[in-house]
Every structure is written in C-alpha cells, then in structure tokens.
Amino acid sequence: MKSSRRIAIAGLAALAMAGSLAACSQAAEDDGKLELRVATFPPGADQAAYDAFAEQEKQFEEANPDIDIVGLEYEWTAPTFAAQLAGGSLPDVFTVPFTDSKTLLENDQLMDVTDEVKELGYADKFNPIILEEVTGSDGAIYGFPRQAYANGLHYNRDLFEQAGLDPDSPPTTWEEVREAAKTIAEKTGKAGYATMTSGNTGGWQLSVQAVSRGATLQEDNGDGTYTSTIDNDATKAALEFLHDLRWEDDSMGATFDLDWGSINQEFAAGNIGMYTTGSDVYTALVRDFGMAPDNYGLTVIPLEDGGKVLGGGDIAVMPPTIDDATKAAAVKWIDWYYMQKLLNEDAAVADAKALSESDQAVGTPLLPVLDQETYLESQEWIKDYVNVPLDQMTGFTEGIFEQTPAGEIKGQTQPIYALMDNLVQAVLTDQNADVDALLAQVDVDAQALLDE
C-alpha cells in the first residue's frame, strides 16, 4: 500500500517534469505550409496597426498559398539579439538600423543575400551610399535597405504658439534654436529644447549636432582601420551649446536621462519644444506615443560651417541560421512587404491603401533608398492616400534635398556612441564639466576601441 502510493507520487512528479519540458518545445504545424515568422511592430503599437498588417498578411498569403505568415511583435535591441539568435527565437525576418548593421554583418550574425539581391535586380538600383551600409568587407550583401531617413528638427507647434512664436517659421540657425528654446521655457515652463543622453542615443544625437556644425568624427583610412577625430571644434561647439542652454538659459527642463523612447514620449505629451531625431519618427509618435498630429512640426537641422545632415535607416535582414526553404520564403516576403512598394505603382498603392484604411501614417518624409527620381515618383502614386500633415513639415520636405547627407561613423559605432553618451550627460548634469578634458579622453578611449 505504502509503496504503491510512493510510486504514484513519483510517477506524478515525473509526469509534471516531462510535461513542463515538453511545453518548452513548440508543436510543429503540419498542414504542408511553410511557417514564416516575421517581425511586425515594436511593442506598443495600436490595434489599427495590426489590422493593417492582417490585411497585408492576407494579400501575401493569397499570392503565396504555400507560405503561412506569423507576425511577431519585435524590435531589434542589442541586449537580446545575440541570446535570441543563439536560442533560435528570432523572427525569420526583421529590420536592423544602419547603426548596427555593420557590426552584425562583420560578426557573421546576418544571412548573406548577395545572390538574391542580384537576382531580384536591386543591386544596381540602390543608392550606392546606402548599399554600402549592408556590404561586408568581403563584398557580400547582407540585407535589403528598405527605408532611409535624415535627421530633422522636430518641434511642438502648440508650444510654439503658447510661447508667441510662429510655428510656420521654425528656427533656421542654432542661435535661433537657442532663442526659441529660451522663450518656450520662460513662457510655458516646459523644456524648450531637449536631447537624448542614454543607451547610446546621446552619442548618436551628439553626432547629428556636431556633424551639422561641420564635424568629422572619424576618418576611414581605407585599409580597414579608422582614426577617431571626435575631439574637434564643432563637437566642442555642440557640447557648449547644450551646456549654455542647460546652465545659462535653463531652457532644457529638469530631465536629462532621456533615450529614444522617453524623449518621444515626453515630446508627444507636450513637454518638449524641440529636439533632433530621424525624420521618420512621426509614424511612431502618432502610432506608439499618442501624439496629436496637429501639434507636430518638422524642419531641417540648421547647418553651419560646412555642416552636413546625418542620415540613417534600416535594413530588412534574416538570421544566418535559417534553412534554405525558409530563406527563400523570407526573401519573397521582404520583396513583397518592404521593397515592391518602393518601385512598383500597384504595390505602392495597395500598401498605402491598406495603411490609410486602418488610420496608419502614410507619407512620412523619408530619404530615397533607391534613386531620388523613383522616390519622388512613388510619392506621386500614393498622393491620394497621404494622411500625415505634410503642410506642417514643409521646412523639412523643401529643404532636405538642398542639404548634403553624411553617414554615421563606421568603426565601433555603438561602443563609441556609448562613450559619447557620457559627454552629453556630463555637460547637462555638471555645471563645471571640463569639456576639453572630456573630449580629449573620449577621443583616446574611442581610438583604443578602434585599435582593438
């Protein structure tokens, strides 16, 4: 009696164990279809975005009955990427910012798609500067550039009006930015100007501001080595500008630990007058952060002393671990979902229609991934569906093609941005920060990273 009870208990324990282990492995679907797991939106997207996605999913599956699309909420982040890649839980298709693509492809963490890009006929169509972002030192291509942007100056039209400023004539020089920020802070009590400072975004936006004042932050020696040139007058001027806004004008509010998510949140909530970030942020501001479209304004970043506008973008990629059948399906999806709308009128219209019917942003200002002519033509195709307030973005749309674009630093991009985070944090949180000494130190540390 006693032993049979023991057996029952031990059996139960073993069952529970086996059950929990079995739950870990996914049940494979077997209806003859290939399951393709694709990234949809970052966490926080509203239901309408998913409705639009479901519509597009249906269209794709009708055209490709042997593929079953499974949408996954996913946003590429460095901390989870390598572990998810090793654990096999990455989506089969996702997008990665240019900022990270070079490091990933040099680390063998992306799938080689050279043949597929050539076969689809994109190799010669891409803007060469952008194709460079996805080309490894071995000459192979590791992804499909699908969207590019230039950094812009975003401003809150409502705060401009409250402060007695004209939202239709935003600042065009950094000195005017400073004056407007001061006015907004004095009249509304909100931060007139803000900048990102943490999680490497501080370094990213310091680059934007330094390059706009004529800085070159890194020299490419052409032999795979780089020389750090962060310590220059333009970077110093950008830092001193922030220092003065913070300590002399007190026009940057009281929060100095913002990153991409939190600065967008604060801006959408009406707590920030102006900030710099990618021109494509409107979609996220409205979709993920609940910004009222009427309050949004966008213009170009002021350029001074031969400055350039820093660009960026993202590429559609696959993990290097997927099998050939999945890869073939993934290429079909990338071509259909991301690429065709850039050059095919029917695809562009279908995409714009699906998005606009679900109230998703159509027509957010971007930079051409292919050539400028195709881009402008594609804007004509979808003209009837554009629902973003383009008349509040004329400062950008009319000025951007006059500006000279520049790419991000190529060597050790994120680690160097992390170093530069400290520069921005130092001038904003320490009134007596020694800018010269800090810059000299960061230059040394960055060079050490580059020499590794």
């Binding site: 460095a78 390598a82 400290n422 130092a426």
Partner: protein
Amino acid sequence: MTLTSEADAAAEADPRHPSPEPAGARAAMPTRRRRQRTPMTWIRGGGAWNLAFLAPMLIVFGVFSWGPIAQAVIMSFQKTNLITPATWVGLDNFARVLADPNLGTAVLNTLYFAVLALIFGFPLPIIMAVLMSEVKRGKGLYSALAYLPVVVPPVVAVLLWKVFYNASPDGVFNTILGWAGIPPQPWLQSSATAMPSLVIEATWAAAGGSIIIYLAALIAVPPELYDAAEVDGAGIWRKIWHVTLPQLRGILFIMLILQVIGTAQVFLEPFLFTGGGPNNATLTVLLLIYRYAFQNSLGGDYGEATALSLMLAIFLGLLSWLYFKLTDRWSTN
C-alpha cells in the same frame, strides 16, 4: 566536559520536533558501516527512492543553476558570439577587463554604494525593530506596514520612485521638500546626487525584510535578562546596549555579511534608475558586467562579462571566508 555539553544539547532539543537523526541512530552507525555495502543494499535501504525524489531538484538546479555556472567559468577563457564555435583565448578576457578604465570607476562606485547603504541601511532596520518590539498594541499592523515595500515587485518600486524623483519643482519629492522651504533637488539628474538617491530607494525597499528577521530574533531574547537588568537599575538605553544588542550579535554578523554581498552585486537600481549615468556616476560592477555582455559590443562580449563575474565571485567568496574567520570568536560566544 563532553558529558555536560551533550546533556545541554539534549536539554535544548525541542521534544515536539525530534531531530531527523536521533542519538540512537548515531550510536548505531559504526556497526552498520562495518557490513559489506553493495548496490543491492543501497537499493534495499531506499537509496533509489531517495534519488528519485531528489531527481527533480537535482535536474532543475543542474540545468538552470550549476550548469550555467560551470559554463560561465569555461566561457571566461573563451571568445564566443554563441553561434560560431568558441575559441580559447587563455587569460585575455581577464587582462582586458583589468585594463578597462571603467573597472576602477565601477569598483569605486560600488564601494560608495556599499558604504552609503551600510551607513543608512544597516542601523535603520535594527532601530525600527527595537522600537517596534517595544510597542504594546498593534504590533502586527506595524510589521505589515514595514514589510509592505518588500511585497511591491522591485522593478515596479524603482519605476515608481523614478516618478517620485522627478527633478522639476513639481516632482513628488521636490513638492514635499518645498513645503519645508527646501529648494528642488536634481536627484537622479546630477552626478553628485544620483548615487545617494539610489541608496535611499534601496534602503526603503530592503528594510522590511531585515526588520522582520530582527523582530524574530528579538522575541528569542529571554525576558529574564531584561528583568534582571531592570532589577540592577538599567534604563531603556542600557537595556538595549547591554542586553538586546549582545543577544542579537549572531544575527547582526550574518545580516552584515549578507548586506555586503548584496550591495557588491547591486544592479537593479542603477540599471533601471540611471543606466549607470550621469557620466558613469552610478556605474556599478554588475552593471559593467551587463554592459560587456549585452550593450557595449553587439556581438556580446560574453568572455569579458564572465571573466569579471568570476573575479567578483572569487572576491566575495574570499571576503566572506575572511569575515567568518575574523568574527568567528565574537559571533559564537
């Protein structure tokens, strides 16, 4: 000598909870050991059943705890991105960690946190527990209130405090300070005040657990000792100094080393509050390990991260050993 101590032990044993191995069994051990031991005797003695019941624990700990620890030790001598085969690099990871200028900053910051946490966080629960043990009515209510912060999930607590620490004049804490005429503080937004701000939250979050332990220890203090002290004319302070604290000695030493080990591994607060900023003012050793593995380089420098983890573990192990060596005499009579 031995006779009396055995008699004492027997007298101390609680008859309601007999120890699993009664004295009789211990006496019988030598005779049993003399018999031939074979796998069969092991099974007949219930060995297989013991193992079967142990197995779930062994498997779970082995797979999720000991395995990763062993793997981390191996990884600290390797370079790996988790996909391509790892290469052995000897002590390179250790050398690179030791050469990192951030290591010094992280160690100093962690020390600073530990010292601040010791000054504010260590005496506070003792004082609270002693005061609460003196309360005659509603003791349960006070215990519950003191323990409440421990019940709040740590991440939620930190995110709440982040809102309280809003550095604008209309932030929660700054408003309260304003009532007392104190100007708004920058809290997390300044290199100088960021670390103390983290310590205040950490103390608040951890005090409840310690208070409960001290309260339990205080109950165990024999009331006769207080009565005797009172007869000798001792006031409340003398009773605390000469009776309470000496009686808590053992638990105080344990709590101190636990706190030192805990603060040396502080991660949650700097990670969530500041991300190590401003300008690395709250970069701690554990946060540096996290950065090596997940932030600084996209490939994930797991080698450097595990190397620093290993060094920290060895350091804390040595420190604990030394601590118990030094305090052995004091903590046990």
